[in-house]
C-alpha cells in the first residue's frame, strides 16, 4: 500500500534521513520506533509532503507522491495525526472535525460519519461546541485522531499518539488504535513508547540517526536482545 524507498531528506546541510526504505501493507499496523531525533517525524512529514524529498521515492497505492502538494496527498486517502496533536486550538471541537472533512464533497455520507465519530468518541460529542484549546491532553489527542478519521483515510500516519498522556489515557488511545485497525484502516505508527507500540503492531522498523537499522515482525523485535537493551530498558 505504502512503499518508501531510499528516502533522503535534508534540513539545510543536515541529512536527517539516510536511504530509509520500508513498506506498509493493507490492513497492517506498522510501527517505527527509535530515539529522540532519529528521524521518525521527518519520515512521516516526508510522506505527507510537508518536507521536500531530496532523493528516493514514496509510493502510495501506486501513486508517486513526490511531486504532489500535501493537500492532494490527503485527498488520495492518506491521513496524518501529527506529533504534538496540533489541533486548531482556536476552533471548536466541531469545527476541528469539519476541517478534517475539508476536502470531502459527499455531504450525505458526511453527516453519518459525524454520528459515527461521535459514537466512537462520546467525550467529543459532549464537547462539540467547546474551544479545542481548552480540552485536556487526552481529549485533544482523541480529537486529533478523530479529525484525521474524518477524511476517511485508507492509511493513517500517527506520530507519537501517547505523548504527554497519563498511562490510563495511553491505554485508551491504544485501544482506539486497535479499533481503527479492526474497522479496516491501515496504520503507520510512530512511538517512543516502544513497548506498547510493539505489542499492537504487526511489523516494526527501528530508526537510528536517520537510518533503518532493524526491521521485522513486531513480536520478534520485542524479544530481540538488541531492541530490549536499546529501547525497552533492558
Amino acid at each position: 500500500m505504502l512503499k518508501v524507498e531510499k528516502l533522503d531528506v535534508y534540513y539545510g546541510n543536515i541529512r536527517a534521513l539516510k536511504e530509509v526504505s520500508f513498506e506498509v501493507n493493507e490492513g497492517e499496523i506498522v510501527t517505527l520506533i527509535g530515539a529522540n531525533g532519529a528521524g521518525k517525524t521527518t519520515t512521516l512529514h516526508a510522506i505527507s509532503g510537508l518536507v521536500p524529498i531530496s532523493a528516493g521515492t514514496v509510493e502510495f497505492c501506486g501513486t508517486d507522491l513526490q511531486t504532489l502538494s500535501p493537500h492532494k496527498i490527503v485527498q488520495l486517502g492518506l491521513g496524518h495525526v501529527p506529533e504534538g496533536r496540533r489541533i486548531f486550538a482556536n476552533l471548536t471541537v466541531m469545527e476541528n472535525l469539519e476541517m478534517g472533512a475539508y476536502m470531502r464533497k459527499d455531504h450525505a455520507q458526511l453527516k453519518k460519519d459525524y454520528e459515527q465519530i461521535f459514537t466512537r468518541f462520546p467525550r467529543l460529542k459532549e464537547r462539540a461546541k467547546q474551544i479545542a484549546g481548552t480540552l485536556s491532553g487526552g481529549e485533544q489527542q482523541m480529537l486529533a485522531i478523530a479529525r484525521s478519521l474524518m477524511s476517511k483515510p485508507k492509511l493513517i500516519l500517527m506520530d507519537e499518539p501517547s505523548m504527554g498522556l497519563a498511562p490510563l489515557l495511553v491505554k485508551e488511545i491504544f485501544a482506539i488504535i486497535e479499533e481503527i485497525k479492526a474497522a479496516g484502516t491501515t496504520i503507520l505508527l510512530v512511538e517512543q513508547n516502544a513497548h506498547l507500540a510493539l505489542s499492537i503492531a504487526d511489523r516494526a522498523y527501528v530508526l537510528e540517526t536517520g537510518r533503518v537499522v532493524l526491521q521485522g515482525e513486531a513480536k520478534e523485535l520485542a524479544n530481540s536482545e538488541e531492541v530490549r537493551k536499546a529501547y525497552l530498558g533492558g
Binding site: L165, P167, N193
Partner: protein, 264 residues
C-alpha cells in the same frame, strides 16, 4: 550539609491549569537528585520556576548565593539567578543555533568577564587578557566533553547528542554550584547515555556540583541519582531512594505502570 536550593510550597497556574502545586524540595550541597514523572506532570515547569523563567503563583524559592547568604529568588530574573550559581539546560535544546560552538560557551561567561564595554571598545590590555582567559577556560571545558575540535562549527550543525552536551558545557561555563539538567539523555542511544552518566558523575566531582535532573531514562535515573522525587499532575506523589520509589504503588500506577502491565 548546607542547603543550596530550597522550594517551599511552590505553585503555578497557567490560565485554569494548576501546572505545579505545593512543591517542596530541599537540595543539599553535593546531592544528585532525580525529578521524574509522566509527561506534563510539571517537571520542566518546576525548573522554569527555579530558574526564574516563570514566576510562581505562590510559594518561596531560596538559593544560597556564591558568597554564602541565602536569598529569595522568586522575583528575580533568570540572569540574576544564574549569577547566584544556578544554571540549567533545556529540554527543547535552546542553543544559539547560528553561532559557533565556542561562542555559545563564551556567551555563558558573560557575567564572569572582568572587563567593561569601554575596555572592549578601546581594546585595552585588560580586554585581551580576559578574552584569553575566557578562551582557554572554555576550550578546557569543551575538551572535557570532547567537543574542542568542533569549536568553530555552528551549533546547529552538531548532531543531536552533541548539542545536548554543548548545552551542559554552556551551563557549566556560568560556574554554577547547582546544575539543573532537563532530560540530558534524550535523543542519545544507550551507549551514549552510559557515557553521559559517567560524565555527569565526573563533572559533579570535578566542579563540586549539586545536580537536579529530569530524565525519562530509568537506567540513568536509577544509575546515578541518590534521591528521586516523583511528580504527577503537578504534585509530588513520592520521594526517596531509587529502590524505594520504584516500589511505590502510586509511582507504578502513574509512571512505571508498563512493567505492571507486562506482568499482568
Amino acid at each position: 550539609m548546607t542547603t543550596l536550593l530550597q522550594a517551599e510550597n511552590l505553585s503555578i497556574q497557567f490560565g485554569g491549569l494548576m501546572a505545579v502545586s505545593s512543591f517542596n524540595m530541599e537540595l543539599k550541597e553535593g546531592e544528585l537528585v532525580g525529578l521524574i514523572g509522566p509527561n506534563g506532570a510539571g517537571k520542566t515547569t518546576t525548573f522554569n520556576m527555579l530558574t526564574g523563567i516563570h514566576k510562581p503563583t505562590s510559594g518561596r524559592i531560596i538559593v544560597r548565593s556564591r558568597n554564602g547568604g541565602p536569598r529569595n529568588i522568586e522575583k528575580l530574573q533568570p540572569y540574576q539567578i544564574t549569577s547566584l550559581g544556578v544554571a540549567r539546560t533545556f529540554q527543547n535544546i535552546r542553543l544559539f543555533k547560528d553561532l559557533t560552538v565556542l561562542d555559545n560557551v563564551r556567551i555563558a561567561n558573560h557575567f564572569n568577564a572582568q572587563y567593561k564595554s569601554i575596555h572592549a571598545l578601546l581594546r585595552l590590555p585588560v580586554f585581551y587578557q580576559e578574552e584569553k582567559r575566557i578562551y582557554e577556560y572554555n576550550m578546557e571545558l569543551l575538551k572535557l566533553f570532547k567537543l574542542e575540535h568542533k569549536s568553530d562549527e555552528l551549533a546547529k550543525n552538531l548532531p543531536y547528542g552533541e548539542q545536548r552536551k554543548l548545552e551542559i558545557v554552556r551551563a557549566l561555563a556560568t560556574k554554577p554550584h547547582t546544575l539543573l539538567l532537563d532530560e540530558p539523555a534524550a535523543g542519545m542511544n544507550p551507549q551514549e547515555t552510559k557515557e553521559l552518566m559517567e560524565l555527569i558523575k565526573s563533572i559533579k566531582e570535578q566542579f563540586n556540583l549539586t545536580i537536579l535532573l529530569i530524565e525519562h531514562d530509568m537506567n540513568l535515573v536509577m544509575g546515578i541519582c541518590e534521591r528521586i522525587i516523583v511528580l504527577d499532575y503537578g504534585r509530588v506523589i513520592a520521594q526517596g531512594k531509587p529502590a524505594e520509589v520504584t516500589r511505590d504503588p502510586m509511582v507504578i500506577k502513574a509512571y512505571l505502570g508498563k512493567e505492571m502491565e507486562n506482568d499482568a
